[in-house]
Amino acid sequence: MAVIIRRVEFFLITLWAAVTINFILPRMMPGNPAEAMMAHFQGRLNPAALHALEVAFGVNTKETIWQQYVQYLGDIVHFKFGISLSNFPVPVMHVVMQALPWTLTLAGVTTVISFLLGTLIGMIAAWRRGGIADNLMPPVFVIISALPYFWLGLICIYVFAVTLHWLPSGFGYDEGGNINLSWTFIHQAITHAILPALTIIVTSIGGWILTMRNNMIGTLSEDYVRMARAKGLHPMRIMIQYAGRNAILPNITGFAMALGFVVSGLLLTEIVFTYPGVGYLFLQAVAAEDYPLMQALFLFVTIAVLAAVLLADVANALLDPRIRAR
């Protein structure tokens, strides 16, 4: 119980802090969205448009910063995020909702795959200490994890899309495709996700392998594993139920955090692959000083991370009875 209260407390404090930082940051940036829009059109707009834009965006508002803050908090509580300036006059929610499923799916699937695969490899490497898997996999993937993933993406596009024509180089689905739940669409979505997913998985798996291996080596020397051997249990059971399950516990929170982070961390991948997710929206929002969009995105990502962490706590409690008791 206390754990949950402490978690909720943390959740609220962090949320408030993030929301506030979120409010302050864009306002500290110089310039204003109207000028950003003018700059975006690279001189193609009539100079008179600046005035129109300022009126439309409400740039020269007379409200004090405190009034704005209170207004802002109120809006957030009611889930009102206003209109995206860089996508004027489309509401922020619409812009975000259009992009969110893509990112969530890609991020979710890749992170889960990378975590599961990494954990499995780490587990086996530690179990067969000094074996081929142990001598090869961890160092190789640790090195790969040092690759800049966006660069890897560029190279992948060049090799697999441009040169070999095996896979599409970008977008979430084929040109002219319709978004629905048909097999054609799902097939398209998968084909288009292969390259971005691959770059993420390959560069993130090393961390999981290493931490799992290290944890597992720790648990393997625990007395309860020796005890399991003494009991004459099947080796698979010892590896999974005794060593593995205890070794995975410290990784769960990390996994949740990673799950939350990729939502924003996909940014470079999405740019490189023209993937229709929220990552790119961030960059766009910042470039256009689109406060409402930026704020909404920040909020969503923070909530995503926090929610993931909360979920991890639940998962931890399910897997680790000691936490449940506290």
């Binding site: 943390f10 404090i13 962090t14 802090a17 993030a18 930082i21 940051l25 864009p26 500290m28 940036m29 110089p30 200490r129 000094g130 961890p138 160092p139 640790v142 090195i143 994890s145 040092a146 690759l147 800049p148 966006f150 660069w151 890897l152 560029l154 190279i155 596009i157 060049y158 441009v162 090393g206 290493l210 290290n214 080596i217 720790g218 020397s221 955090m257 939350g260 982070f261 939502v263 924003s264 961390g265 940014l267 470079l268 740019i271 961030f282 960059l283 910042v286 470039a287 930026m294 995105l297 920040f298 990502v301 923070t302 991370v305 926090l306 962490v309």
Partner: protein, 321 residues
């Protein structure tokens, strides 16, 4: 039951460097110990060699680079040749020279960004753990907030907000977004040290808190601090490359990240100068791999359980009496 001779292989010999009696030497000894242990770890040695190579290149860049990195002096888009080992950019600059000069900034970002982020992590993590109570609570929440805030977008906001995004802005952004991870790792270790009797023993002896933190606590965490530094340096290198790639650095800087920015901007892969993108990326990867390898080594050193079993098992047969 019968005769039972049993042999236990000795654990890897304890580090040879003696523990010193004075505070400053304890620090030095910590580093020496890690250095000595690193030299016996093959992965770490490989990492150190790569790192040394890049360091030499960075220091002697003016001597190594055949041309000025920014001079737009040659025919654009030349393929590799003996005059231009990696060809030229579409602005007519020598790619190899850019690569050589770019080593400097990339290394500096890794070094300075890593050091600063580590310093902040150590400060927050250790202070928080040592003080305990309310300060600990506040500092932990701050750490967690920074951990939860989406780093890359935050970096983009800050980098965009500071005009031009020069070197120091880049470092600042990296430090702001990169310290919390280390602090989070350090806190529990410092906390577990905090209740070790030797610290209370020092307190009972009458030492001041500052003395205890600096000379009793920290020397015990040298290997973790080194690991955090390496992690932070790797983060700094990759994050800086990402930001510069997005055009959020100063595009006139000489670094591998800006090379990627220009290369991508000029579609180097498509217009026949692929090395413009491949070379700096590969260098970042090599540098990153070096840091990752050293980190891997440090990990094995600080956690004896992880040490490799490369030595062949010697079996002693005890003759039956």
């Amino acid at each position: 039951m019968a005769y039972q001779p049993i042999a236990i292989q000795e654990p890897a010999p304890s580090p040879a460097t003696p523990a010193p009696a004075t505070g400053r030497a304890a620090w030095a000894a910590g580093f020496v110990r890690i250095g000595a242990a690193l030299s016996s770890n093959r992965k770490a040695v490989a990492g150190v060699l790569i790192l040394l190579f890049f360091t030499v290149v960075a220091i002697f860049a003016p001597l190594i680079a055949p041309y000025s990195p920014s001079a737009e002096a040659f025919a654009p888009g030349m393929p590799p040749s003996s005059a231009h080992w990696l060809g030229t950019t579409s602005y007519g600059q020598d790619i190899f020279s850019q690569l050589v000069w770019g080593t400097r900034q990339t290394l500096l970002i890794g070094l300075i960004g890593g050091l600063a982020a580590t310093a902040l992590s150590v400060f927050v993590g250790v202070t928080s753990a040592y003080l305990g109570g309310m300060p600990d609570h506040v500092l932990s929440v701050i750490t967690d907030i920074f951990l939860v805030l989406p780093a890359l977008p935050l970096m983009i906001v800050i980098a965009a907000y500071e005009k031009g995004g020069g070197f120091w802005v880049l470092v600042g952004v990296i430090v702001i977004t990169g310290w919390s991870f280390g602090a989070r790792q350090l806190r529990p270790q410092a906390q577990s040290l905090r209740n070790r009797d030797f610290l209370e023993s020092a307190r009972v002896r009458g030492e001041t808190s500052a003395h205890i933190i600096v000379f009793e606590v920290l020397p015990n965490m040298v290997s973790l601090i080194v690991a955090i530094f390496l992690g932070a340096a790797l983060y700094a290198i990759l994050a800086a490359a990402g930001l510069q790639f997005l055009g959020l650095g100063n595009p006139e800087d000489q670094s591998w990240g800006t090379m990627l920015f220009w290369g991508q901007n000029q579609e180097a892969l498509m217009i026949g100068s692929p090395l413009w993108i491949i070379a700096p990326g590969a260098c970042i990867a090599a540098l990153g791999a070096a840091v990752a390898l050293i980190n891997y080594g440090v990990d094995e050193i600080s956690n004896p359980a992880l040490r490799g079993r490369k030595r062949k098992k010697k079996v002693y047969v005890v003759p039956n009496p």
